[in-house]
């Protein structure tokens, strides 16, 4: 397995990631997804998102950044899980990221079901 490319959130993006979009603040999840995560995923197969040094990771930020790949960028859960890993000292924050990805996948499957009916 290749060594993943690491995005150091605190130094490369900002140490206080928060909110979904520009309405919620500058360091929002949509901006992180579009300007950091997607470019890194375009170049590298494996990406490690390292939150160490960040002063927290808001739940809306996490949802918009990672579950947002499924909700807005057409990704599937398996690809998100396979290609992105996370590092943060608080396991409960990482647990929530996986929860949001699960919920986004459920929404995606529901959309597919609705479209096929």
């Amino acid at each position: 397995m290749s060594v993943p490319h690491t995005i150091f959130v605190a130094t490369e993006f900002g140490d206080m990631p928060h909110g979904r979009n520009d309405k919620d603040g500058k360091l929002n999840g949509e901006k992180f997804r579009k300007e950091h995560l997607l470019p890194a995923l375009a170049k590298h197969d494996q990406v490690l998102v390292d939150f160490d040094g960040a002063k927290g990771c808001g739940s809306s930020f996490a949802d918009e950044s990672f579950a947002g790949l499924i909700d807005h960028e057409g990704w599937k859960k398996d690809d998100v899980l396979r290609r992105i890993t996370y590092k943060f000292r608080f396991k409960s924050v990482i647990k929530n990221i996986y929860k949001y990805i699960d919920e986004a996948e459920a929404r995606r499957l529901k959309r597919i079901d609705e479209n096929t009916i």
Partner: protein, 176 residues
Amino acid sequence: MMKTLSELSQAGLFTAAFALIGWVFVYLNSRSLARQSEVNTITASIEKMLQEVADENNKFWRDTAASAEDQAKPRLFNAFINFRCDFIEEKIQFLNKKCESAFLDIDHVKFEDCIIELIAQIRDRSTFDSEMAQQVEDKVARVLEINYLSMTLYTNIYDFLRTRYMSGSSFTKAPY
């Protein structure tokens, strides 16, 4: 053999040996009690923080039901809740480590997993979509959920400590 024992007894060696054993017992017991007291203090501080999480939730969701848009408010709220949840998560790790015992078969990994799951839920239910609180449908349900999760978390910690420091007269099946 009897002669040797008699001589040792006359020399007072048995008395000294019993005194030493007694001293070791008292020393270990007092250390154990001190540790238990420390653990109780940690638990009390966790309880206080959980109470704060619940109170602040109540205040925030109640206030935002009728207030205007403001970026600072949800950010402050997020900071308040996340700081306390981070603190609780760290304290739980210390508590778990401190409660390790060679004489008791306690599943520390299961305890930690269970607590982290609850903290994750508290973080999520407290702060998710707090930036657009106006659009969250049932704000009261959020408050009730946090109260319930806080209570469950405290009960889990209490059950864990009850198992760890169980007295011989109240021996029950360990939940962890």
